[in-house]
């Protein structure tokens, strides 16, 4: 059964009651919240996601509720609850949905060391995955949102999960996070994409989330072989340039963008080095999304 099978009233009742068992990729999150914007966001953006009926096990037990103190009458806030403890400071109440997204990313990235986890967007075509690690502001999410509307399958817009035993990229399809100007860019680029209500004045500015393509959600158990590592950089009016980059330096840059490379020790080094070895590595500068799509469409799988 999918989230879309529930009426808004039933969804709200589950979230307020014993919780909603939401499956995203390899993980099950049990979510509880009485906050309407959380129910609204999940209803709209997670419509195609399967619910784990009759499952007794959840990977993450999550709650989003206002703190129980006097401040709630003056300045309402929201707390992300991870199984009875609050890992973060509260945020303003109307940022509850973004906080759910960020909090769930935190749950995965700090507890799932069965994977090498890289802060990167991952998309797949013909069985090969492109991994786009990049610092904030590089236009990674914008490019990811555009590509997944043009034939690439979304694996994740934030977390590349590389499986230990075979180096495969494991999908974690979730709503794609868009910031500031890129919200409008994607609305114009693909008017049929569903983007939820904007949330202003967050730490990252204005944020909104794009509903992941249905195909990406349905194929969430299909892994892909890393084929390319591409560092995107958006620059106003820049020409579209795809330039090969040396592998050693790429390894260092990816390591720096990984959450748990250091934790994994020698295993992490082998995984990362094997992945880099098997991938073609590039720097990609762009300003025009259509041209970017063309360049990505022309990517050839790496020589074996």
């Amino acid at each position: 059964m999918n989230v879309s099978a529930l009426t808004a009233a039933e969804l709200g009742r589950r979230l307020r009651g014993c919780g909603l068992s939401l499956r995203t990729g390899a993980f099950v999150a049990l979510v509880r919240s009485s906050v309407p914007s959380v129910a609204e966001g999940i209803g709209a953006l997670y419509a195609d996601f399967p619910l784990e009926e009759n499952s007794d096990f959840a990977d993450f037990h999550i709650g989003l509720e206002p703190p129980r103190d006097l401040r709630r009458w003056i300045y309402p806030q929201i707390v992300f609850d991870f199984d009875g403890h609050a890992p973060f400071k509260p945020l303003p109440f109307d940022q509850a949905f973004p906080m759910f997204e960020w909090g769930l990313n935190w749950c995965v990235s700090s507890h799932s060391h069965q994977y090498l986890i890289i802060h990167a967007a991952v998309m797949e075509k013909d069985g090969f995955a492109v991994i786009m690690p990049a610092p904030p502001g590089s236009g990674k999410s914008t490019l990811c949102a555009a590509l997944v509307n043009r034939g690439w399958r979304l694996l994740s817009d934030e977390l590349a999960l590389i499986r230990k035993d075979d180096g495969q990229a494991v999908p974690l399809p979730r709503p794609v996070s868009l910031k500031n100007a890129s919200i409008e860019v994607i609305r114009n680029f693909e008017p049929t994409a569903f983007i939820n209500r904007e949330c202003r004045d967050t730490i990252k500015g204005t944020v909104a989330h794009m509903k992941p393509p249905r195909d990406a959600v349905l194929r969430a158990q299909e892994t892909a072989k890393p084929g390319w590592v591409i560092f995107p950089r958006y620059r106003k009016d820049a020409a579209t340039v795809l330039q090969a980059r040396p592998k050693g330096g790429t390894l260092m840059a990816v390591a720096d963008n990984a959450f748990n490379y250091s934790l994994l020790g020698t295993a992490g080094f082998h995984m990362l080095a094997d992945m880099i070895d098997a991938c073609d590595c590039y720097d990609f500068t762009y300003s025009n999304l259509d041209q970017a799509i063309e360049v990505f469409a022309a990517l050839q799988p790496p020589a074996p």
Binding site: F88, P136, S177, I203, K247, G249, F259, S262
Partner: protein, 238 residues
């Protein structure tokens, strides 16, 4: 030696690309002597991230965690200062933290302490704005003499106070163990807020005690002579 090497594993992209093998002409070209002298052999380091300190300790904001600086996992960066080499080569407007002034160059290039006018912040507290006490052990950092000759007055020597920037550039026997250079860098680091563990006052105390007694006492009965102070200050610099 075989024994020792057992731990080490060598992987390579393809046979023949190992730099230990005879190089092809292309890599020999890249290896031109000029290339050798440039920079450190260690181009870049990705340091092991702390796991002992507060593992699972909570970061302040979820967005800062997930999309901010992943390298720091939301923790404040460790306090690390900059080296004397940095400070002596950064003398643009706003490079030095106020109220310290680096002063001006005599010409266009700097090669030693004498390339600088002494119009920046003075070393010795005997002069307006001066920072450190230079009465005893550190008196050589206070002043230098300039001789001039003119037909009218003959040879004449005047005493000039050193500036912090001049001290940074001293080197050699003028600045044994580079004590002066490191104290100056530590002072600028502290003033800039780069070193949590070392305040401006603590830097001044260290110098002033060295001036008075020839050593600094970090804890009761322990003596740090100038070379020890330098070793300590180096540990606060990246």
């Amino acid at each position: 030696m075989q024994e020792k090497n057992r731990n080490h594993e060598i992987g390579m992209a393809a046979p023949g690309q190992l730099p230990g093998d005879a190089p092809d002409s292309e890599s020999r070209r890249k290896f031109g002597k000029a290339g050798l002298a440039v920079g450190s052999a260690v181009i870049l380091t990705v340091a092991s991230r702390p796991v002992l300190a507060n593992y699972g300790a909570m970061c302040k904001t979820p967005s800062g965690f997930i999309s901010g600086n992943v390298s720091q996992h939301g923790n404040p960066p460790p306090s690390q200062g900059l080296t004397p080499g940095y400070w002596k080569n950064h003398y643009g407007t706003g490079d030095w933290p106020s109220p310290y002034k680096c002063g001006t160059l005599k010409g266009t290039r700097c090669s030693n302490w004498d390339s600088w006018n002494n119009d920046g912040t003075r070393v010795c507290t005997d002069y307006t704005g001066g920072v450190f006490r230079c009465k005893s052990y550190c008196s050589s950092y206070a002043t230098y003499t300039v001789s001039s000759y003119s037909k009218k007055t003959g040879y004449k020597t005047t005493t000039q106070p050193y500036s912090l920037m001049q001290m940074l550039w001293m080197g050699g026997s003028m600045d044994q163990y580079e004590f002066g250079a490191h104290m100056c860098a530590a002072l600028l680091n502290a003033q800039h807020g780069y070193t949590d563990c070392l305040s401006v006052q603590a830097v001044k105390d260290m110098w002033n005690e060295c001036d008075q007694k020839g050593y600094y006492e970090p804890t009761a009965g322990v003596k740090w002579y100038p070379q020890d102070c330098v070793a300590y200050l180096k540990s606060t610099m990246s």
